[in-house]
């Protein structure tokens, strides 16, 4: 009986303790993997947001309120994300940010939308900093979802614009993770390359299991056998690092057009392959962009956090959040959402960005950079390899706009 009683008390006690948060802090729920396969990426993101929050707090926060980042582990699992989101909301969080996994993003967007319809007055905003599935701003778009990363279609638009003018590309091999994002990369690549460079041959189109392959050498053997000169891949996390590692082992020499080669482990793997300026990345910013403010920020960030800034968009997100709150003179999610719509903003790496009202997609300049030996004016290397990112091409905001099919349901 005693045991039962203590158990009961133990069960109940923490439930009582869920008091509302103090009014003078703005809690942002960071929902991303902090354990399991995606943890390295998730932890990097968490540190980035915490750094940004500290930086803002040091300058007085937003409208005098301090910002607190609440890290919530979703184990890259949609249900777990919903549990964590609910938990966060109950503890006073009104802004959620998440990036890893489009399936999580879709679930969260859906959850937030339902939550806001069912709990008027307790609205929650969802800031998406990295889930790039185009459907999030097209058929599944939501008024409460804002995306700072460029959708995968936008990135592919920029990439194919670059490839169009590179006549050496003749045979392209597509290798992607077998899930919604990987599939949208492959479909967009086929469609856009077909339109812009019909002479390019797609010699392979591979989908492999997400985050499960430990040895890519069979895939590399296939790429080799296909005679491809370029590979396009949306792989991220260990899937890009191991892919490049296997390529290095097999001595495969092709040009790699990637979305996320800059993630953890990627630069090290590229250095090992010896592919000097043959691995390309499409981003909304990078360390050696040449923009002085961005480079200063990068320097301070690296000194403090110990990793390079993977997410310049996180900077844009947080600063724009602040701008919107100040514009609305409120941190009420409904007012912030309204203020964010069509908000123009000078992004970290320079140039004007726009949060489009139609689909809540942020449009900004897109960069294509290559990884290799650094020039004198490029101070930042990656993962202590001595190599770093080098500007190849910049696509301006106007050229990186794509149309949307979003039929936004407004409250």
């Amino acid at each position: 009986m005693m045991r039962k009683l203590t158990l009961a008390i133990a069960v109940i006690a923490p439930m009582l303790g869920q008091a509302a948060s103090a009014e003078d802090t703005i809690k942002i729920g960071y929902i991303d993997p902090l354990s399991g396969g995606g943890a390295s990426v998730g932890e990097g993101g968490l540190k980035t947001f915490q750094y940004l929050a500290e930086e803002m707090n040091a300058k007085g926060g937003i409208l005098g309120k301090k910002i607190e980042i609440v890290g919530l582990d979703n184990k890259t699992n949609p249900q777990e994300s919903l549990v964590q989101a609910q938990k966060a909301i109950d503890s006073g969080v009104r802004f959620i940010t998440q990036g890893n996994g489009s399936s999580v993003a879709a679930a969260l967007s859906d959850f937030v939308t339902k939550n806001n319809t069912r709990n008027p007055g307790k609205e929650v905003l969802y800031f998406n900093y990295a889930a790039v599935d185009p459907s999030l701003t097209n058929d599944k778009c939501s008024y409460w979802h804002f995306r700072w990363d460029a959708g995968s279609d936008i990135k592919m638009e920029a990439l194919t614009n670059y490839m169009k003018d590179t006549p050496s590309i003749k045979k392209v091999y597509l290798i992607n993770q077998d899930y919604s994002f990987g599939q949208s990369v492959r479909t967009d690549a086929r469609k856009m390359l077909g339109a812009k460079r019909p002479d390019i041959q797609i010699v392979g189109d591979e989908l492999h299991p997400l985050l499960k392959v430990t040895d890519f050498s069979p895939y590399i053997a296939k790429i080799k056998a296909s005679g491809a000169d370029s590979v396009v891949t949306g792989n991220w996390g260990q899937d890009i690092a191991l892919l490049l590692k296997a390529a290095a082992d097999a001595g495969l020499k092709v040009n790699w057009y990637t979305y996320y080669a800059g993630g953890a482990g990627g630069p090290t793997a590229i250095k090992q392959t010896g592919l000097d300026h043959q691995v390309f990345q499409i981003t909304e910013g990078f360390a050696n962009s040449g923009n002085q403010a961005a480079m200063d920020f990068e320097k301070a960030f690296r000194a403090k956090v110990g990793i390079s800034l993977w997410y310049p968009r996180a900077v844009n997100e947080m600063r724009m959040f602040k701008a919107a709150a100040e514009k609305a003179n409120s941190v009420d999610p409904v007012k912030v959402a309204a203020a964010l719509e069509d908000l123009k903003f000078e992004v970290l790496d320079g140039g004007q960005g726009l949060m489009r009202k139609d689909d809540h997609q942020f449009f900004q300049p897109i960069y294509i950079s290559s990884f290799g030996k650094l020039a004198a004016n490029e101070p930042f290397d990656e993962e202590n390899t001595g190599w770093g990112w080098h500007m190849v091409s910049k696509v301006d905001t106007a050229q990186a706009m794509v149309s949307t099919t979003c039929k936004m349901a407004r409250p």
Partner: protein
């Protein structure tokens, strides 16, 4: 195409031999003690992480010897202080103990070494292409892995055929009930077998670590395949485990290499029909289903030949 076949065969045999290093220990432990060691893949992971850490401290070659010994010692401790005490509660309890252990080991590993892959490099001595076949390099390290696996395989054969413990193990494989009649030595024999099995798994981890990815979920990824191997080969059959390891290794590697789908064989379906289960199955490539091929094999063998490929016992 020929190039693909040669490379895939090499990779497949290599993966198969790695699987055998693990499944041999698992099979012997299962036959003798009736315990399906759920934590066997965790010992493999420990081998990889110990290998990584020791390589950092004292270099790869000493680590190659020391790390498996360490893992073997841990295995023996698990047998002595864990399984032996649980034995009285039956095989299910023993199985659950190893299940819990696998869980705890994964957590401890990720607690100490983190959750992201560690930078476990191929030793410089072996970091060169061994040969080039149709312009594809084959890394020397992989040949080294293959060599180590084969050496261990031969050593195992000799031990089983020539030594007393080997004879006991063999007897146990064919007549599991006989193990009870080993007398007062039974505890020590169990401990030794468990230790050697774990050490073999550890060795597999040390050599696989640099070639594959060394991270805290590597055990969970490999474990289920391991069970498929020993059920497929026939519980308690070492030759069965050997053949199954190679079959699964080759099948998985070749499945990745193949692009065929029903659509490519018989032409696309009428697109107006819209998406359905049929279109999913129709359009999926063999490469995409590669990860589920082992489990499909498992189901097929259970229907066709429930005791497994070489198995003689029903359970």
């Amino acid at each position: 195409m020929l190039e693909l076949i040669v490379i895939s065969t090499l990779n497949g045999v290599l993966f198969g031999m790695l699987l055998f290093l693990l499944s041999s220990g698992l099979t012997v432990i299962f036959s003798m003690m009736g315990v399906l060691n759920f934590a066997h893949a965790s010992f493999y992971m420990l081998g990889a992480f110990f290998g990584f850490q020791l390589t950092k401290w004292i270099g790869f070659w000493p680590a190659l010897v020391l790390a498996p010994l360490l893992v073997g010692a841990i295995g023996m401790a698990v047998e002595r202080y864990g399984l032996r005490n649980t034995h009285k509660h039956g095989h299910v309890a023993e199985l659950l103990l190893t299940f819990g252990l696998a869980f705890a080991i994964e957590e401890i590993v990720s607690m100490i070494w983190g959750k992201s892959p560690v930078d476990y490099r191929v030793p410089a001595l072996l970091d060169f292409p061994a040969f080039t076949i149709f312009s594809t390099n084959y890394p020397a390290y992989k040949l080294f892995m293959l060599a180590v696996s084969i050496v261990i395989f031969i050593a195992l054969l000799i031990v089983l055929k020539r030594t007393r413990v080997g004879l006991i193990v063999q007897a146990a494989l064919t007549h599991p009930h006989m193990v009870g009649h080993l007398g007062h030595n039974v505890g020590r024999v169990f401990m030794a077998v468990f230790g050697v099995g774990s050490a073999l798994a550890g060795l597999a981890g040390v050599i696989a670590g640099p070639a594959l990815v060394t991270q805290s979920d590597m055990a969970a990824a490999l474990g289920p395949i391991l069970f498929v191997v020993i059920v497929f080969g026939g519980l308690g059959s070492l030759p069965g485990a050997f053949i199954a390891s190679l079959v699964i290794g080759l099948v998985q590697t070749f499945a990745v290499a193949l692009d065929g789908s029903l659509a490519s064989a018989f032409g696309p379906l009428d697109p107006s029909a819209g998406p359905s289960v049929l279109t999913d199955i129709w359009n999926v490539t063999i490469a995409q289903v590669a990860p589920i091929v082992p489990y499909l094999l498992l189901v097929i063998i259970l229907i066709v030949r429930p005791m497994g490929l070489m198995g003689t016992r029903e359970s």
